[in-house]
Symmetry: C2
Subunit: 191 residues, 2 copies
């Protein structure tokens, strides 16, 4: 029944940890830090409350773990590869971003939920600021290479638009079609 070798035990432990993280993501994302409970998460992951503490020593540690792994999946979205044309970079970046909204909605919602909490988790706000600056900087390069006027401001507008459609797709019932947004954006800047 139960696994016998050390390796099997470790695999089992890893599998459980993965299940916990997945459940934690779902619950934290939809109910926020305060609204989520160890009980709900444990039940969702199919384990007992007590066992949770064998994996994560507190609710806050668990939240930080989920946060960290969620934030990592956002890496490498906006790119500026000098060996490619600026239009290619633009298309790729916009596509990456919009794909991300669709595929990682739960993680993005989590980051917003946690980020809105005053005081708690303010490392997150710093990280978000850094990511923003990086995105603006990359799009500025792209726009400069495309000879677009006022490239830095154009980049800020574009990044704001992208952040805006994130906001909208989180907060609205039927947000405007992301596909149309993608098409129109590319048409606007790449013709």
């Amino acid at each position: 029944m139960s696994p016998r070798t050390k390796i099997q035990l470790e695999e089992n432990r890893l599998a459980t940890e993965t299940r916990i993280l997945k459940s934690a993501l779902t619950i934290f994302s939809s109910q926020g830090f305060a609204g989520a409970s160890i009980r709900k998460i444990a039940r969702d992951a199919g384990i007992s409350d007590g066992l949770m503490y064998n994996y994560f020593k507190s609710k806050e540690v668990l939240a930080l773990a989920v946060l960290k792994s969620s934030f990592q999946t956002l890496d490498e979205t906006i790119i500026y590869d000098e060996t490619k044309s600026p239009e290619e970079n633009f298309k790729q970046s916009v596509n990456n971003f919009i794909d991300l909204i669709q595929k990682e909605k739960t993680k993005i919602r989590l980051l917003a939920q946690m980020g809105l909490h005053e005081k708690k988790f303010n490392q997150l706000n710093q990280a978000t600021t850094a990511r923003y600056e990086e995105s603006v900087s990359k799009f500025s390069e792209i726009f400069r290479a495309m000879k677009i006027e006022n490239p830095v401001f154009e980049a800020r507008i574009l990044v704001a638009s992208l952040d805006g459609i994130v906001f909208e797709s989180l907060l609205m019932d039927q947000p405007f079609s992301l596909e149309k947004f993608r098409e129109n954006l590319i048409k606007k800047y790449c013709t």
Copy 2:
């Protein structure tokens, strides 16, 4: 000491209710629905827990009251007045919106906090969707009058940018200067 006439009693009651709503706004806004507690709100408003229930019969009813009053202050932001030039309408609307972000940050944070909560408060998401459509529609009219190409999509981009800077000013440590954003936006569309 205590007021004797009926009118004074009513004024007193109204004053207390106002204090409760103000405290509730602060606490709900920074800690979300689950994170806020009747105790914290009552303490902040300088009354006892029990008295809260004399004004609002449950935490949820209180939240809905705060939500409603917050949502109302967002009215009349994006305008389209046919007796004025489209440029005037544009400037006025953008100015209204950016002023709103600065002045009503707490209320906006509240709407975001509550809106991110899955299931609960989904009337809010419907209202947000309606407001979005209305904003897009008004900016579309403005852009059409300005002979800008693809006015509806341009309106969606603009509204997304505005929503984006809301998002950014809520989630980032030092968001990009709203004043520069305002200036550049107006320069871009009104010259």
